[in-house]
Subunit: 253 residues, 2 copies
DNA sequence: ATACATTTAATTGTCTGACAATTGATAATT
DNA sequence: AATTATCAATTGTCAGACAATTAAATGTAT
C-alpha cells in the first residue's frame, strides 16, 4: 500500500510523511479508511505505539480523523475551511510573535493584502456584509469598551470587509493576515482620540463599499495602515523611553 | 505549570491543547525546555505513551522540537519561515484540491493577492530579483520542456516577483496562494502558442518591474489571470466533452 | 596541567502485551 | 417485527522494559 521510507527521522515521522504524501498526491482519497493500527504496524514493521504517534501527527494537521468502535478507524479527512482557518491563524500568530518581525512589516503585509480585497468587496458585498460592518462600528463607539474588545471588533469589521469579496479562498488567506496580528494589536493602547480617528476611517470605508467605490476604499485602507503604524510607533517610543529615560543628550558623536 | 484540561477529546489532544495554549499566550517561551515525558506523565496523571502522542501532535505543527540524550527533551520551537512555508503550502494545496473549489475562484484569489505585491516589488526589487525572473523566462522558452517543468518555472518566476517586495510576511502569505495552485495548474496542457503568450506577459512583467512601473505590472497580472482562466476553461470543456460526447441535441424538454 | 579516552546518567525512541471504552453488526428473545 | 443482549473489531490507555543517543563527569596518559 505505501512505499519506502526515507531515513534521518524518527520512524513515526517517516510513516506520517509516507501517508501524508499518499494523501497529497491522491493515492488516498477523501473519506477513505486507512488500515487498522495493527495492520499498519505489521505493514511498516513497527509497533502499534509508533504507528499511533504517526497518526497523531497527521491528526494534528487535520489530514485524518479517527473513530472508535467496530467500523471505526482512521479516515482521510476533507480539510474544511473552519479547520484550515484555525491552523492559518495559529501559524500566522506564532510566525509574527516569535520572529521579532517589526510591526511595520507585518502591518504593510496585512494592509497590502486587504487592499487586494477591497475592490472585489466593493463590487460584490451584500447588504449583510455592510450591516455587519456598521454593527461593529457601532460597537467600537461604545464608551467603556476595553482595548481588547475594541481590537476584537476591529478584526470582525475587517473580516466582514474581506468576506464581502465573496471568495472563500481569499477569506482564508486573509484570516491569517488579519487575526494573526491581533496579539500585536493588543499591545497598543487606544486613546479616545485614536478610536475616533479609526472609527471615522471605518465609517468612510463602509460608505465607500456601500457606494461600490473600490478606489475610495483602498484610500481608506492606506490611511488606516498609516494610522496603525503611527500608533505602534508611539507605543514603541514610550517603551524605549521607559527603558532608558535619559538618552536624549547624545552619546554617539 | 499547566492548567485544567477540557473534556470531549482524547487525553493526548487535551494535553497537546493545554501546552499549545501555553505557548501561544507566552507562558512558555521560545527555546524553553518542557519537563521530561515521565514528569509530564505524572503531572497530568497519564501514561508516557499518551504524553508522547500529545508531543507528536505539537511537533507536527512545528511548535516543539525534541532532542535525545542527557540534556535532551522537548523545546519550544521558534517557528521559522522555511517550516511555516511548508505548512502553508500543504494546507493551501489540500484546501484547493479537496473542496472542489472552482478554478476561477482560486485563480482570482491568487492574482488579487499577487497584484498587492506588484506595486511594492516595482519599488523595491533588487537586480537579483530581476535576474531570477529573467532566468525563469529563459527556462520557460526552452523547447521540449515538460508541462510540469513549465509550471515549476512559472512558480519560481512568481515567487521571485513576490520576494521582490522585500516583505517576508508577504512572501509567506503568497507561498500558499501561488504554490498551492500548482496541482491545479498541472492539470493544464500548455500548447506552444499558450506558452508564447505567457512568456510574453512574463517579459512584460519583468520589464515593468525593471522600469519600476507598478501600474503596468498590475495590468500584466490582470492579463495573466484572464489568460490562465481561459486555459483552464479550455481544459474543462475538453474534459466535459469527453465525458458526454453527444449532448448537443437536447435531452431535457 | 592539558588532552584524550571511558564511564555514567538522563532522556527520548521503540517494543511488547495487556485491558478499557466505544460502536456497529449480529443473534436471541419477546 | 421490534426490542434487547451479545459479540467482535477498533481505537484509547496503561505499565514496564530495553535500545539509542548525548552531554557531562570521571579517569588516564602525555
Amino acid at each position: 500500500m505505501k512505499t519506502e521510507l526515507s531515513p534521518d527521522h524518527d520512524l513515526s515521522a517517516q510513516i506520517a510523511s509516507a501517508i501524508r504524501n499518499a494523501i497529497i498526491d491522491g493515492r488516498l482519497i477523501v473519506d477513505e479508511r486507512l488500515p487498522s493500527e495493527s495492520e499498519m504496524a505489521e505493514t511498516f514493521g513497527v509497533s502499534r505505539p509508533t504507528v499511533r504517534e504517526a497518526l497523531k501527527r497527521l491528526a494534528a494537521q487535520s489530514l485524518i480523523r479517527t473513530q472508535r468502535g467496530a467500523t471505526g478507524g482512521a479516515f482521510v479527512n476533507r480539510l474544511q475551511y473552519d479547520e484550515a482557518y484555525g491552523q492559518q491563524v495559529t501559524t500566522a500568530t506564532l510566525l509574527l510573535s516569535m520572529n521579532a518581525i517589526d510591526f511595520d512589516t507585518a502591518c504593510e503585509a496585512r494592509y497590502a493584502l486587504e487592499r487586494a480585497c477591497a475592490a472585489l468587496s466593493a463590487q460584490r458585498r451584500s447588504p449583510d456584509h455592510l450591516a455587519a460592518m456598521r454593527a461593529e462600528i457601532h460597537r467600537q463607539s461604545q464608551p467603556g469598551l476595553s482595548d481588547e474588545r475594541f481590537c476584537e471588533s476591529d478584526v470582525a469589521f475587517h473580516r466582514a470587509l474581506v468576506d464581502g469579496a465573496g471568495n472563500p479562498v481569499l477569506s482564508w488567506h486573509l484570516a491569517g493576515a488579519i487575526e494573526g496580528m491581533q496579539p500585536l494589536m493588543n499591545m497598543i493602547t487606544f486613546s479616545a482620540r485614536d478610536r475616533a480617528r479609526i472609527i471615522a476611517l471605518h465609517t468612510a470605508l463602509a460608505d465607500a463599499l456601500e457606494a461600490r467605490d473600490g478606489a475610495a476604499a483602498e484610500t481608506c485602507l492606506d490611511d488606516l495602515c498609516a494610522e496603525t503604524k503611527q500608533l505602534a510607533r508611539a507605543v514603541r517610543a514610550a517603551r524605549d523611553l521607559r527603558k532608558s529615560p535619559a538618552q536624549g543628550h547624545g552619546h554617539g558623536a
